[in-house]
């Protein structure tokens, strides 16, 4: 017998609607991925989504639970998010492995939807990055690049590449890959080349980075596509402005301050905003409801923390990209943030003992 007490009306929102709205918001970025990486993007996204849903179903079956939550869309969303963070050259079995990591280690071991501490897609990506560092940092030349050596719009070519890697299409890996802007700047710095020169060598342009015509993970390259999706989520009220705003503003602010101190050592703010997975993380990863704070102040703090960590890891860390580590690290702090950032309750004038 279900619990029935007031209120007897309901607004009609549901988990499935929420998840579907995020999937909808990711469509521009997905189409951008397909435009840039052709059939390869289609394969990765499909494999990732299907294997996530399947893994979820198997997990629930094995645990003897109801398999109804498979249809709430959260597993499919995790699959899509994971796919969009993957480099296009990844072979099928790594995609499959990542999906299983995402659902089993990222979600089900914690007790399923709503109980995971970390963002499932991001934790899977980190596991993949640690396990396969080379493949996870190998970026394919997008179809927009005139040097692109492989026709990814040809399904057969893309399929061989997806199944058996560069050998399958008789190409050396070096011939079809290039560095991502972030990686390029980082490697150049280690050999003593400043940021400005590095960007000139790379043929970097802000417009290309904004539109997404650069090398990178499937769905991370186009800031424009991600912004469209993010604005849709904000307008639909699936997410609030706090986390994306705090996150992006912090990165931009830190970058601006240090860039003005030493323009050769520190990259400019616009470069940081448009590069790597920052946009995707700010609008879709950090705002994942389960693993982010619920209070407005908590969300601001969470966003600022993500921003500081992202910038620090990018600038001083061993990895060129720090957005996913930043979000995962801040995920750990969420319960604490939530506890200490409760808003002032109506009629209570002074802050009550938060430690109670």
């Amino acid at each position: 017998m279900p619990i029935v007490s007031s209120p007897y009306l309901h607004g009609g929102d549901s988990i499935r609607l929420t998840m579907m709205s995020v999937i909808l918001a990711l469509l521009p970025a997905s189409f951008m991925a397909i435009y840039l990486f052709g059939w390869l993007a289609v394969f990765i996204i499909t494999v990732s989504m299907i294997s996530c849903v399947l893994t979820e179903w198997l997990c629930l079956r094995w645990m003897g639970r109801s398999t109804k939550p498979v249809w709430d869309g959260s597993a499919a969303l995790s699959g899509l998010l994971l796919a969009l963070t993957l480099p296009p050259t990844l072979p099928w079995w790594m995609v499959l492995l990542g999906s299983i990591f995402a659902i089993v280690l990222g979600k089900q071991v914690y007790g399923g939807l709503g109980y995971n501490l970390f963002n499932p897609a991001l934790s899977a990506r980190v596991i993949l990055l640690i396990s396969f560092p080379l493949q996870m940092t190998t970026w394919l030349m997008p179809m927009s690049d005139p040097r692109a050596a492989v026709d990814l719009y040809d399904a057969a070519v893309a399929w061989s590449l997806f199944c058996s890697g560069p050998q399958g299409i008789g190409q050396a890996l070096d011939a079809i890959t290039m560095a991502s802007p972030l990686g390029h700047v980082k490697t150049e710095w280690t050999v003593g080349v400043g940021v400005t020169d590095a960007l000139v060598h790379y043929n970097y342009s802000y417009l290309n980075a904004f539109l997404g015509l650069e090398a990178g993970s499937l769905g991370e390259t186009s800031a424009l596509a991600l912004l469209i999706g993010g604005i849709y989520l904000l307008a639909r009220h699936t997410i609030t402005w706090h986390i994306p705003f705090a996150y992006l503003a912090t990165v931009a602010l830190l970058a601006a301050i240090f860039n003005s101190i030493d323009a050769e050592r520190f990259a400019p703010p616009m470069f940081h905003l448009l590069a790597g997975g920052l946009m995707l993380c700010a609008f879709f990863m950090a705002t994942d409801p389960v693993s982010s704070p619920v209070t407005p102040l908590g969300r601001l703090i969470f966003g600022v923390g993500c921003g500081i960590l992202t910038w620090c890891i990018r600038t001083f860390g061993g990895y060129p990209e720090g957005a996913m580590f930043a979000v995962l690290l801040m995920n750990c702090a969420v319960p604490l943030i939530d506890h200490y950032c409760r808003p002032r309750v109506y009629g209570h004038s002074v802050d009550r003992d938060a430690g109670s």
Partner: protein
């Protein structure tokens, strides 16, 4: 961002101050154009001994007594209480326990009156010259006439009508918001009895010597706003404003309305009088008018009988004690089928009746018949919380409902109390927006109930300890006294013995 802009706008005075959070609920005012009609008198009226917040009354009539309409039939010495009056002339046929509209499903002692069809009436002295009387006398009249807040909270009205040297009342707010879906009792009352409400307002204003008065009405009732404005002009009152407030649930909640109008918050655990505000429902104001100018106690109220499953919805004037089953039959709902549920009160804060044999009481502002598909929780399943935070965004008192519900569910009641569980007004906004269909308010009620029980147990243990210690002390004292007596006896004996030897 909109919230930020709103705050900015309010700070600069561009926007009217509002309250935090809240939701848009469907209007569904099916009976807005139905004039108030009289409900016939049933064969027997059942009057519970407690129709207010506070102490229970005791019958002051006996079985077999004949009572007049308006005669006091139950009262108590307690302070927070309101007496009960006979709604009709008739005979007391029995006094026994009967089930009432309460979530516990438990009953209360009730007085059963069989109407004799006559309209013999008992009235208190009319006080048309109230503006020359002592406010304390008027207050006593309000108390004697059993008037309680008719918005639904049924808090005894006289308690709020105090003149306090330390907290003079500056603003008197008449609440005509009626933000619950379906309900139209205050709306119809304002349209049809505007002058009486305004008279009531004048009396209340005189009693607490308020400097400014506000009649607050939601802007989905523009006709009522217009009618009330005209009534004020007719009464030639100055210093009274009629405000059309934005339609937003729960605008009609006292704390939220006060915040909307004055921009101030009622301090936690205090009454609005502490910030110089008195808030009364429009129906309560009218009841005060009847009690003072006509000496008529509170024996009936307007009830919205509505809902999609109600064949002939309407606004009915119903004497207290009328069985709900009888009222529903008047509106065409003869027998309640399987797929139909009857709610007592509005759909947001009311409760589902398990039996329609309960009487209409002072708190009954609506009786709704809804189809099963319309009831939240009957066709949805509770899913895990995804921490979306929507509940916190709509909570008008800024709790963090999802965390609070977690603590209640896990029986971490101390934690829940630290998260301000007792500040929850149970408006239901959180449950309304929850995408996981979690019955948050239900968990809060559970937590409150459990905490109350823990407190009672603690108080009982404390009392037992105190008594046991007192007993120990008494026994020790007695032992002491006994020994002292024994020593004294021995001493006197040995003294005697020594005396004998010498």
């Amino acid at each position: 961002m909109p919230a930020l802009l709103k705050r900015l706008g309010q700070a600069l005075g561009w926007m009217p101050a509002g309250f935090f959070g809240g939701i848009e609920v469907p209007d569904r005012k099916l009976t807005a154009n139905e004039p108030i009609r009289d409900c016939p008198v049933p064969d027997v009226l059942i009057l519970p001994m407690k129709q207010h917040i506070g102490e229970q009354c005791h019958p002051c009539v006996h079985i077999g007594d004949h009572v007049l309409k308006g005669q006091k039939i139950a009262a108590t010495e307690g302070y927070v209480a309101a007496p009960v009056h006979a709604p009709v002339a008739g005979k007391v046929v029995k006094i026994e326990e009967h089930r009432i509209a309460h979530p516990s499903g438990l009953g209360l002692p009730c007085i059963f009156i069989e109407p004799d069809g006559s309209d013999k009436e008992h009235r208190y002295d009319p006080l048309p010259d109230w503006n020359t009387r002592d406010p304390a006398e008027l207050r006593e009249r309000v108390r004697e006439c059993g008037i309680v807040g008719l918005g639904g909270a049924v808090f005894p009205t006289f308690i709020k009508l105090v003149r306090d040297q330390h907290h003079p009342i500056k603003t008197l707010i008449l609440n005509g918001i009626e933000c619950e879906p379906y309900l139209t009792t205050d709306h119809r009352l304002m349209l049809e009895h505007a002058d009486e409400i305004v008279r009531g307002l004048s009396i209340l204003r005189y009693m607490v010597s308020a400097t400014e008065c506000v009649i607050a009405i939601e802007d989905n009732k523009q006709d009522a706003v217009e009618v009330m404005r005209q009534a004020i002009v007719r009464a030639a009152l100055s210093g009274v404003r009629v405000l059309a407030m934005p339609t937003r649930y729960p605008q009609g909640s006292e704390k939220q309305l006060i915040e909307s109008i004055t921009g101030k918050q009622v301090p936690a655990g205090k009454l609005p009088v502490h910030i110089g505000v008195l808030c009364q429902n429009v129906a309560t104001a009218r009841a005060v008018y009847h009690a003072v100018e006509h000496g008529r106690p509170l024996t009936e109220r307007i009830v919205t009988v509505s809902g999609e499953a109600m064949p002939r919805p309407g606004n009915l004037r119903i004497p207290f004690g009328t069985p709900v089953r009888f009222v529903l039959a008047q509106c065409g709902l003869e027998d309640i089928g399987d797929g139909v549920h009857v709610l007592h009160g509005g759909p947001m804060m009311g409760e589902r009746l398990r039996s329609v044999d309960v009487p209409v009481v002072k708190a009954t502002n609506g009786l709704l018949a809804l189809y099963e598909g319309q009831i939240r929780g009957l066709n949805t399943e509770e899913q895990p919380c995804i921490h979306c935070g929507h509940c916190g965004e709509v909570c008008p008192i800024r709790l963090v409902p999802n965390l609070l519900a977690d603590h209640c569910r896990n029986d971490a009641f101390e934690r829940a109390e630290a998260y301000q569980l007792f500040d929850c007004i149970e408006c239901g906004c959180c449950s309304y927006v929850c995408p996981s269909s979690i019955p948050l308010v239900h968990y809060f009620r559970y937590g409150k109930g459990q905490l109350a029980q823990i407190r009672r147990a603690e108080a009982f243990a404390e009392e037992s300890r105190r008594r046991s210690e007192a007993r120990e002390r008494r026994l020790a004292r007695e032992r002491e006294a006994k020994q002292a007596r024994r020593r004294a006896r021995k001493a006197s004996q040995s003294a005697k013995a020594e005396g004998g030897e010498t």
